[in-house]
Amino acid sequence: MKAHGGPIARLKALSRGRRAALLLSALIILTATAFAGATAAVPGAVWAIGFMSLLLAAILFDDLNSRDRRAARMESRIRTLAGSGRSSETVQLASESATASAGPQASAPPRTQESTMGESSSERPGTPIGAFEARIPRTQSGHLQLKMRAGNFGEQCERGALLTFQFVRDDGSIAIPVVQHPVHPKLGMYAYLDDAPESETVFSLTFPHDAAHLTVKGVQWKKQADTRVRSFVAEDDAPIVHRDSASTLKSWLRSRDRNSPIAIIYSTAPNMDHSTLGLRPNRLAREYAALGWTVVFFPFGSVDPAATHYSESILQLERVHLMKAMELVTADESLCSRAIFICSSFPDIQAATAIDYAKMCGLRTVYEVRDEMEEFNRVGYSKWFDPILEMRVARESDLIVNVSPRLAEKMTNLRGSAENVYVVPNGVANRTINECAHLRTEAAWAERASTAPTVGYIGHLTPAWFDWNLLTSVANDLPEIRFEIIGHGMPEGIALPDNVAYLGPRDHRECAEIARSWRVGLIPFKPSPLTWAVDPNKIYEYLAFGLRTVSVPMGSVSDCPSTSVVRGPRAFSEAVAQASEAPMQSAELLNIERALADMSWAKRARRMAELMGVNP
């Protein structure tokens, strides 16, 4: 037990049982002293002991009574909360201390409301948590952040103190909370304060639509703790009021150009606003927008309401709203005739049924096949995958666009026909091509050749397809070459040779900067159906960075300039060594430029539009 302050405070800090024992002892001594005083001549010291005992008894008795009174008040408050369904409208910041300042007031909803708690005694600053109450009017945004600083002067224990949150309607009745914290059957929504001796705890809350104000009350949940509130701040937490997504979509679609094509993209891709990850659907969505299209984007993950409007032309929504979007579009002939549903490598239940729905409503459909999802499923990813669902999507879609010949072959087999099955490989951003033009020069190569030879890899690092054994073998074969690895998914516990450095995930600008010193880009993947099917984005980036590429066989890489496609560690090492040494001259650079001119995402988007029958 930790005791703070002077002797009186120390006495008060004792447990209830010990204080009761001390009180009893003091009373016994007092009785004995009185008896001695009555029966004999008593020295002054005995009277002094008796006086001190009386004082001690008075202090302890008062303290016990005080705690009982507080406990009774707390029980009464809980009964009020749990019983009548009403709460006092006049509850303001209350403190047993005469020095506590006024708390948040109900007159107006200021952006920030702050109170500094008074001191109930010089030893224990702050308002006892059990006496804390605050009434906070509805904020402008309907969201609220609360910060409470508190100290614990009693025993350190878990979950010693908590706050209850009760929303109240205009008529004084209790509103139903938006549940963001635990709920107690009687207290309602609550949250514990941090248990540290000195702490700041932050809570986020949302006002229910019909709540006029919030009442916050403190509860000392564990009696052995003694929590004191130092300060309390209530802030309007979200300046933007978000409408529900479905309403947003309806009004947004109506506000858009009445002639623009509409792409509904349902994909396994990350959110449009992801800082470092950007897959083909993200890239093409931006390009479609640049062509004047309206894009409704469904990423794989959840969407922060604040990020719904990614750009003027792109709205991103949670997947649960897919059918709502399909219904909105198909119920309006003027929208339906301009719209296309694109299932981008995500042939799950929703996509399969959405495509059937689209077929019934005359909405055009595309299955864009970016990866061999069956293989992802086999190696433990993409749990949603089922081959029959994919076959259904392949057979029912109006058009299938694949990123590689291997995938096109599979789709042709599933569909039973090559009709409307095409290959449109991946690409690279125009911005990357333009910004990295200086890397595709003889001077840039000369600079690379002037430093120690460095090669590198950019991409995912999962051992499901990244061939770590191959990389390690090649690095061991070529100790004079430095290998730099960039990407997500670095497996734990991999022992790398000294000449291999892992640089972590980097954004595209950082990758371009790092690649200034590289001579070769690597694609060391394991041979598997997944690898054969893939069309690696990285090869287009390597070309934009002015690099040669050494790759295992896959996709359309053999069609790319300055690329060696090899099998086995020995051949891979030889190809890396050779590609690192031979100077890159103007003819080779020209070849790269010519190839890049057709490899931009903008060109890919135009090709997709052409296949979809939409004039770019």
């Binding site: 139903i176 059957p185 479905a246 709203h321 002939e333 049924t353 019934m360 089922d386 081959p387």
Partner: protein
């Protein structure tokens, strides 16, 4: 709105209990219905269009406490709890006067298990949607027999389509047969596929699902359809909004199609009632409460349960001629 009602059920989907709730809410617009649930199963958009339904999604671990808290802090006229007997016991502990436990399942095993968990000292009222269900409850849980009352479900009023909206379903020139439900054994989708396979190519099947998220169930269904040669004669859609589903009923009726129910048990038969109320010719197995809908459901044709050939004859009778019998 002067009155409030609390409705507690685990799932918020676009069919089933959500339809029960919408039926009550759209037929009693003076009451606010608080819907407390923990599993979002695609119904949020469907219910959001009914202004007097307030959705309250709560994590599974918090729903018991939340229900008790609401029961003590809100002035509810009534509290309906379905499929959560332990929660019902707790809530009835604080508001025994307004709590009623509702039984909507037609599965006797499920109902027996649920009622075994109900505390007879706390639960004063059990509500069921049909006489059939009342008899089942009385049989499997005699201790509650005297407390059972029948509260028929109400058909929800459906918001009409806007002037700029259309129902443009294309059945590719075929006669549509509509089947609505989940892909479970009780709803028996296999018999629907078998019947469709026995019917000539002019028929196409439209299957409307809700609350499906396991790929293997729909995969098995589609695989069976393909093995019967129906891959090109079936459309499977999911989580349609109430207004879109109503539009589909109307379009199927206009195209001369039928609603088909192959369910092996029905405590009420919402789909059948919705279809018949839309004027859609309906063929169903004679199970559970379906016969209670009576002569008012004029376009309803009931056949013996499990009689696939009878189902086919009932579906196709308007197309049958003396020379066409399909051997049945």
């Amino acid at each position: 709105m002067s009155q409030r009602s609390l409705f507690v059920y685990p799932n918020c989907s676009s069919g089933g209990m959500s339809t029960v709730l919408r039926g009550r809410a759209t037929n009693d617009t003076a009451t606010t219905f608080d819907f407390l649930y923990h599993n979002e199963a695609g119904g949020r958009n469907s219910l959001a269009g009914t202004p007097n339904i307030m959705l309250h999604r709560v994590a599974k671990g918090r729903i018991d406490a939340m229900a008790q808290y609401l029961a003590t802090t809100q002035s509810y006229r009534d509290i309906s709890i379905t499929s959560m007997p332990e929660l019902a016991n707790k809530v009835a502990g604080v508001r025994p006067d307004v709590v009623s436990y509702e039984v909507h399942s037609s599965d006797e095993g499920v109902v027996t298990k649920e009622l075994a968990k109900l505390d007879p000292d706390r639960i004063a009222a059990i509500q069921v949607p049909s006489r059939f269900s009342a008899q089942m409850v009385a049989a499997v849980a005699p201790q509650f027999a005297s407390r059972v009352s029948v509260r028929p479900n109400l058909l929800p009023a459906v918001e009409p389509l806007g002037a700029d909206q259309t129902t443009n379903f294309d059945f590719e020139g075929r006669t549509p047969l509509l089947w609505v439900g989940r892909l479970d054994k009780g709803k028996n989708p296999n018999d629907f596929l078998r019947a469709l396979a026995l019917l000539p190519d002019i028929y196409t099947g439209i299957v409307v699902l809700s609350l499906e998220n396991a790929p293997e169930r729909i995969s098995r269904f589609l695989g069976y359809a393909a093995s019967l040669g129906l891959a090109k004669r079936i459309r499977v859609v999911m989580d349609l909004s109430p207004s879109r589903l109503a539009g589909l009923y109307a379009e199927v009726a206009r195209a001369g199609g039928s609603f088909v129910s192959t369910s092996l048990m029905e405590s009420f038969g919402y789909g059948v009632l919705e279809a018949t109320s839309s004027g859609l010719r309906t063929v169903a197995y004679d199970v559970g409460a379906l016969s209670e809908h009576g002569p008012s459901a004029a376009p309803l044709k009931l056949v013996d349960v499990g009689d696939v050939s009878g189902l086919v004859r009932a579906i196709g009778e308007r197309h049958l001629t003396s020379s066409q019998g399909w051997g049945l």
